[in-house]
């Protein structure tokens, strides 16, 4: 049986308690709202893109520990990231959280702590919300949903 600590790893609990980049960007060039209608999680993502590179990121919103930690970890990874790489990272993250639990996944560095959600299928959407919102922001869509 999977232990709860596989899901709620210390890093996740820490990012939930003290989310990084939890702020509004006044000079954002891209922003989007994410919503998970199943649980009511909402988040707003702000990006500053300069010359094809994400130079600053911030987010706001309310949600469970998984969605909050995932958003926090994502913003940490995105600073200084070329837009093209961010899009690739979306795909790699999505693959990681949807790979069956017994199959090995790519090492995505600090994002690997979220691989534990694979054991908790109903929580995959929580981990993905920030990433779907990122995609919407980069596509300049106003709102996105995990549904």
């Amino acid at each position: 049986m999977t232990d709860l600590s596989d899901l709620y790893q210390e890093v996740i609990l820490d990012h939930n308690r003290r989310p990084r980049n939890f702020r509004v960007l006044d000079n954002a060039t891209h922003q989007a709202q994410g919503h998970n209608p199943l649980c009511g999680d909402r988040l707003e993502l702000f990006l500053k893109v300069d010359g094809g590179v994400i130079t600053d990121v911030g987010f706001q919103g309310s949600g469970c520990a998984i969605s909050r930690a995932s958003a926090s970890l994502m913003t940490d990874c995105l600073k200084g990231c070329p837009v093209a790489d961010a899009c690739t990272l979306f795909d790699r993250f999505h693959r990681m959280v949807t790979t069956p639990p017994d199959v090995e996944v790519e090492d995505l560095g600090k994002l690997l702590v979220l691989a534990g959600v694979r054991e908790f299928p109903v929580r995959v959407k929580c981990a993905s919300l920030a990433w779907h919102t990122l995609k919407a922001a980069l596509n300049q869509a106003q709102k996105t949903s995990t549904e």
């Binding site: 709860l4 649980c39 009511g40 909050r68 908790f120």
Partner: protein, 416 residues
């Protein structure tokens, strides 16, 4: 908190014996005994109901009201017998007033369409309350949008009680129907439905009561309530999913056009004109959930063999125990503290999102609901995105509450 239907010296529920009637309660989940506290979403089924489903398909499966053969006769008789059982449960004057539907949502939509479209016009009002389930909001919103009518909402106070004086002040000559819940699924509030009906009737306004939550916790007498419509769903009455009922006053049901058209709801059909079947068949187009209706009848018989008064007393005592136990948990806030409530413990925990609570307690074998409970306006009213909700049924025990409290301790350990 006052008991809803406390019997004085009445029979006491033998919960240990009741539990043996529900096979699922003996199973383990995630290596632990199941602690099922999600009854407001759906209740578990007693063996007699499971057997009735199996017996129907093994012994007399046939379509109703059609064949002259024996099986069709048996199925039709059992189906209509279930209707009579359900009619007696709600003390309907006549079984003709009990219409079978798929779920409570369909029952409300039936009224919104068949009654609403013939009675609600431009500039009219439909009055609901701020504690409704989405199923008693959205059908009226759709109706109002179509007819150019206005949806008015009677507010609730910080305890989760309906503000009855404001409700009364919102009634006017333009109000064409009142639709309120008998008991809130998100808060546990039991509404003063006798007063609601009386106040609305003073203005000549018919009242629909959504009994989805109330009907398995307390006796309901539709004649004493004098409500015009009453809605209940089978799967919360310890019956199967896919079957529900609408009770309506006979004159109203007679005056309403059909909801869905098709087989079984007609008297005669030509390409020029069709005429409608008698009540209740006018509202039961197509082959119904025959097995579901029969099994619901068996579930109702089962409830009555235990007795609603002992069930209500048992659940009320558990609710009081659970309320006290949860209050001892640091940082826990109860959402819904009405003076008259039943069987629902809805709460939030400081610093922990309800979804995380749900995942952690699930690992301890505890099934609760977390989320907005299809009552987003209630969540908004209390300023929370979601709650965790433990909800009780006749087979729950103090041990179930203790296991929940222990599991919430685990939540605290993890999240600090």
């Amino acid at each position: 908190m006052t008991p809803v239907a406390a019997p004085v010296g009445g029979p006491v529920l033998d919960v240990a014996r009741v539990r043996t009637d529900f096979p699922i309660l003996g199973r383990q989940v995630r290596g632990r005994p199941l602690t099922y506290l999600d009854n407001a979403a759906t209740t578990q089924k007693p063996q007699v109901v499971i057997d009735a489903i199996s017996r129907y398909y093994c012994e007399y499966n046939a379509n109703v009201h059609r064949g002259v053969h024996l099986l069709s006769e048996l199925a039709s008789e059992a189906y209509e017998n279930a209707r009579r059982t359900i009619g007696r449960y709600f003390n309907a004057a006549n079984a003709r007033q009990i219409v079978f539907t798929r779920n409570a949502t369909e029952s409300i939509n039936l009224v919104a369409h068949a009654f609403g479209r013939s009675h609600v016009g431009a500039g009219d009002d439909v009055l609901i309350s701020a504690m409704e389930h989405h199923s008693n909001i959205v059908p009226w919103q759709l109706l109002c949008a179509e007819r150019g009518a206005r949806l008015r909402v009677a507010p609730i106070d910080d305890r989760g009680e309906l503000e009855l004086d404001v409700f009364e002040s919102l009634l006017s000559d333009r109000t064409k129907i009142v639709a309120v819940t008998h008991m809130s699924n998100a808060l546990g509030t039991v509404n003063p439905v006798e007063d609601i009906v009386r106040i609305a009737h003073k203005r000549g306004v018919p009242v629909l009561l959504d009994g989805s939550q109330a009907a398995y916790h307390m006796p309901v007498d539709v004649q004493a309530l004098d409500c015009d419509f009453y809605v209940a769903t089978g799967h919360k009455l310890y019956g199967p999913t896919g079957i529900a009922v609408l009770y309506g006053k006979e004159a109203l049901l007679e005056s309403m056009p059909p909801f869905l058209g098709g087989g079984d709801m007609i008297s005669s059909v030509t390409f020029e004109k069709s005429t409608w079947a008698e009540l209740p068949h006018k509202f039961e187009a197509g082959t119904p959930d025959i097995c579901g209706a029969i099994a619901l009848g068996v579930a109702i018989d089962y409830i009555q063999s235990i007795g609603l008064a002992p069930i209500a007393a048992h659940e009320q005592s558990l609710l009081e125990y659970g309320t006290a136990q949860l209050a001892s948990i640091e940082g826990l806030r109860m959402i819904g503290t009405a003076r008259r409530k039943a069987s629902i413990l809805s709460f939030v925990l400081d610093g922990v999102h309800p979804h995380d609570i749900g995942t952690v307690v699930d690992r301890e074998g505890v099934a609760i609901r977390t989320g907005h409970h299809c009552a987003q306006p209630v969540m908004a009213r209390f300023g929370v995105p979601a709650t965790a909700r433990a909800s009780l049924a006749m087979y729950n025990t103090r041990e179930d509450i203790d296991v929940l409290v222990g599991a919430l301790g685990r939540v605290r350990e993890l999240f600090g």
